[in-house]
Symmetry: D2
Subunit: 355 residues, 4 copies
């Protein structure tokens, strides 16, 4: 008898949604994509061409998709605003859930999802942070775990997108939660991974400028922002987010320990080619995050499938996804208000004067 | 109706064979691995565990496997000595063939395969040279095609394996055809790709040493060899093969043109991590060729499947595979004999004195 | 008649002092080191061996050295606490002054030196910031000036020293002014260079930890500190100082513009050697700042001599040296107090509430 | 009393000559440039401006210069054709000699210089091969000496000049001795250094093309040439010389040992700047060999001066300079004749058939 495969349905066939669908269709041997949902007619059309011929049933109604025969799991790649609702509905149907980050830009709503998941401990519910599945980050984490750099103390991490003059980022800012929630949330998640998810912030500072996308001001957002989070256990993380890179995607992390340092992607590159010409030596770099992290998403799909089928622990905790958004939101608040934020050792927010 | 998938059988489940089998099973969406053959009981056992549960029928007889219902194609990853015979048998059964390189270490036998394929032009018969399917080489080739380096003139290419003290390479040398046939054949194939497959050798020199594997001498082979092929159209390729690398796999190519240069993998690396420590900054590199070329083999499987299903041209010509072995054999001859080899402009071999 | 050479005297023969002395003695063709002063018997002994035989008169009294025959200039490399006094005394003797940074850790005293220099505009008075004389920084600055990166917007710069377990840094912290005044002052000076020296800070945040040198706490200093300076013209600089690097000196700068980016020393290296071994590929890096900036100090000496002899403008303004220390002191204040600092558009310090 | 300085005279003020003169004038603390000779009126004019004002006496007659008061040494940077004669004349005047490479393109004449030097063992006579004085090569050599790479076995080295469309290289080829004598001689000298200067060639092959400088054909020279020298002790060196680089000077060396590898300048660079732009990440590289080796020439001058003054051994043997030219000439012969050259274990040349 053939081994059972995870029967999964994909919600959303947009920018990330269609990639998750294809990854589960073609690059996750232990999963079977059986259904897909999108409310968008254009995306539905795409599904008719790329999914339906391979046995995937299409739906324009999320609730109906959840009724699909013998479904095991749902991968959610719709708009952020419906992530939480869809995740909870899926859990109510007893389905495992892999949800694109973030669960929500609202901490309250994030917590509701966590609560819903806590009530159903037999379900695997994961909010995917792609870097946790990237070969290079895994290798760096293992090296840190082995003690190669002593005690990790300073983490510098940046998420920098290629400049997009189309206005996309301005529209996006209306509901993204701001650069620290949308972009730095990855860097914050790495911080929780490398520093330990029990770390407690002590103080937070952030500064930003609008340099190339004046439209961002109306949404109180910035195209370049720098922030620092100091933790109570003697560690510091500092972040840089930008949507202004001329050269492409540049997501870099350095973990500095008491006895060494690890860097990830300090020298971004598209492939192993260098071009030598009269102006020097040039290498190209990925234009977008998917060029950098494609294989991480594939691994995410495979590890999620394995955890569901084998009932093994997921590679990351759901509540970290909430904590990362929470810290992101504080950074964003510090950025917009121009004020430092302070916390006591229990994580309770305090006025500096009262410390 | 679901789109038709290529029904393929895998011959050989050894070092490369089992990788081909898994790639067709799991990472080639348009193909379906339906059968596999191996004469080796241990490999058969592996197949029972990793292939059979997924609907793959196992055979210990190649001929019987060819009778498998509705088969379209065979991927051959057995020992080199049987490549040609198996390829020809498959063609006789009207099956497409993807054969691991080389077709044979004998030029005569290589040519028989080409002849057999010529008689069945409706069949896709390919001898896979993995580098042709590698992202970086593809990018370099496209840049050269676009004229970015002017006229390609000098090609330097090396295939260097990590030192293996187990004695494996010595055994292997008994039937591998020698370093230039076994290893440099990749570099020669790249030469045909970048310089044009109609290039005619003018003269060939080669020198080698046995530095760490004295056992190679009994097979008239070397663990380090350097060779030069000068072509009649004013181009030169030079090669370095080694089985002595302390650090891992290091396959490097430079294509030097009249107006620029392209390098591929001049700075090998395992991933994007750098480790900073008291001794400096270190990065790791792949230990073996599969660490470097894994995704190229996946692409090879996918492009082969597409060519068979859509009846489109294969990405490389079968006769190049013969020409590469032929040049490799001449280099090996020059190496063993300690004599330069010369050719006239038609490619006919001549004594230098007669030129 | 031989061209006139600048007759210069060196004050201080300690860590930096003796290097300045040797640079003026041996590597500054247009200068002649004629005298040297040090109050330290051990340094005097060194001078007897390395300077006296080459015609340099030694003094253990600074004032007497200033009376040396036909002196043109003084290079001051003594302890920071006496820089200002010695600089002013030299100016009073009508001598050009090249003073090791900083003029003082006190802004007040810095300003006194600037005032003294203003009264004698015919004198060349420079506080040397070595990076301004470094080939790579010069090249980066020229590229930025040419508009290659559009409008410089974000500057990230770090000064990171190799961990020194001897306790030297703890002693040093007693009078260094703190990490931001002692180390980041270089990064701040670069900021003034790349962003323009008329930039006005808007807000300043800083956070630090004591990770490996607990003794620093008694001096209210830190071995790792991160700070951000936001400027009124829509630019941000962020800094990282550390004395904890396992691997060596790592001074990195990135200047990110609206249309491109420049990096300086992102991949530190001692020389052009790479060592390939079973653990990967390793390169060494300089252990100390002099390994990185030796030639910058030589150029500094030569450009200072040229400016004095030819009465041409110095390559950097004296008041920038004060401004850099001032911003450093604010960062240090923000670090120690745990409070953000705010300024109005005229640079006047304000409480955030009042903005 | 001031320590004695080496009183040196410079012969030749052309391309390299004027650099040697300035290095001894300004960057060799233990030497004093007291005289200079050039037969060329334009060079003499340059000397009047840049040397005479600093106390250097100019001569347009070499013999007269040798009579200059109290001279200790001569640095010879004239045309290759007069190197040997001038060197011998200087020795006859009891002067130490630093001669730009090569002593001569004729082995016979080279040997005469060596003979002349042997008769005067108290004189320091050196033919400068700049790479021996380069920091990176020194470091690599020390690492090899310490056994870090086991037994050095394969050396790959290239000397590649930026393409010069002016026709300079064609003119130059008339008397340069050919690419292997003019360019590869550096790589051969490195081979003698890393493999030991007692190595005996076993066989030599070389191939070349004329790709961009058709005028070279009239001088039986090539703008791209590849050569292999196999030695009797189980070592191989292979070389690439080119005058066709679009991007600048690219002199690379790899030393591959039984337990590791060292590379020197595999990633050439002008400085530590990287420029990030819409087309990728670019670094510039030196346009000419002096951009790469300037500091090596300075060190050469200093070490030569020290050896003369302190009567210590020179850092390289004179007869190596002859051996390097000899091997270069054999490579050039193999290149032009299209025939492999063979030697017996004593280094005697033999026909292959007779082996």
């Amino acid at each position: 008898m053939a081994p059972r495969k995870l029967r999964i349905a994909a919600a959303g066939l947009g920018r990330m949604g269609h990639r998750h669908a294809l990854n589960f269709l073609n690059r996750t041997p232990r999963a079977e994509l059986v259904a897909a949902f999108t409310p968008d007619p254009k995306e539905l059309q795409w599904g008719k061409q790329h999914l339906e011929p391979f046995g995937v049933t299409l739906y324009d109604d999320y609730d109906k998709m959840l009724e699909h025969t013998a479904l095991d799991a749902v991968v959610i790649g719709t708009a952020t605003s419906v992530h939480a609702e869809e995740a909870i509905k899926a859990m109510e149907k007893n389905l495992h859930v892999l949800c694109e980050k973030p669960l929500s830009t609202s901490i309250e709503i994030c917590r509701e999802v966590v609560e819903a998941a806590k009530k159903r401990p037999h379900l695997k519910v994961m909010c995917g942070f792609s870097r946790r599945f990237d070969d290079s980050y895994r290798d760096a984490f293992n090296k840190a775990e082995q003690g190669l750099i002593g005690r990790p103390t300073i983490l510098r991490s940046q998420t920098c997108d290629k400049h997009d003059p189309s206005g996309f980022f301005v529209e996006y800012a209306a509901w993204s939660g701001g650069v620290f929630v949308d972009m730095a949330v990855h860097d914050i998640d790495l911080t929780l991974w490398f520093f330990g998810d029990d770390i407690v912030p002590k103080s937070i500072s952030a500064h930003g400028v609008v340099a190339v996308q004046p439209g961002l001001k109306q949404h109180k957002d910035y195209d370049n922002a720098v922030g620092i989070v100091e933790f109570w256990n003697g560690k510091i993380a500092h972040y840089y987010c930008s949507r202004m890179m001329a050269h492409g995607q540049e997501d870099v992390t350095e973990i500095i320990g008491t006895e060494g340092k690890l860097s990830v992607n300090l020298n971004p590159q598209n492939n192993l080619v260098n071009y030598y010409h009269a102006g020097g030596i040039t290498r190209e770099i990925p234009a977008h995050y998917y060029g950098r992290f494609e294989m991480a998403f594939v691994r995410e799909a495979n590890e999620f499938a394995a955890a569901c089928l084998d009932d093994t622990p997921l590679p990351m905790k759901l509540r970290n996804a909430v904590k990362a958004v929470e810290i992101g939101a504080w950074l964003q608040e510090a950025l917009v208000s121009g004020k430092q934020i302070h916390f006591d050792e229990t994580g309770r927010r305090v006025e500096k004067a009262s410390l």
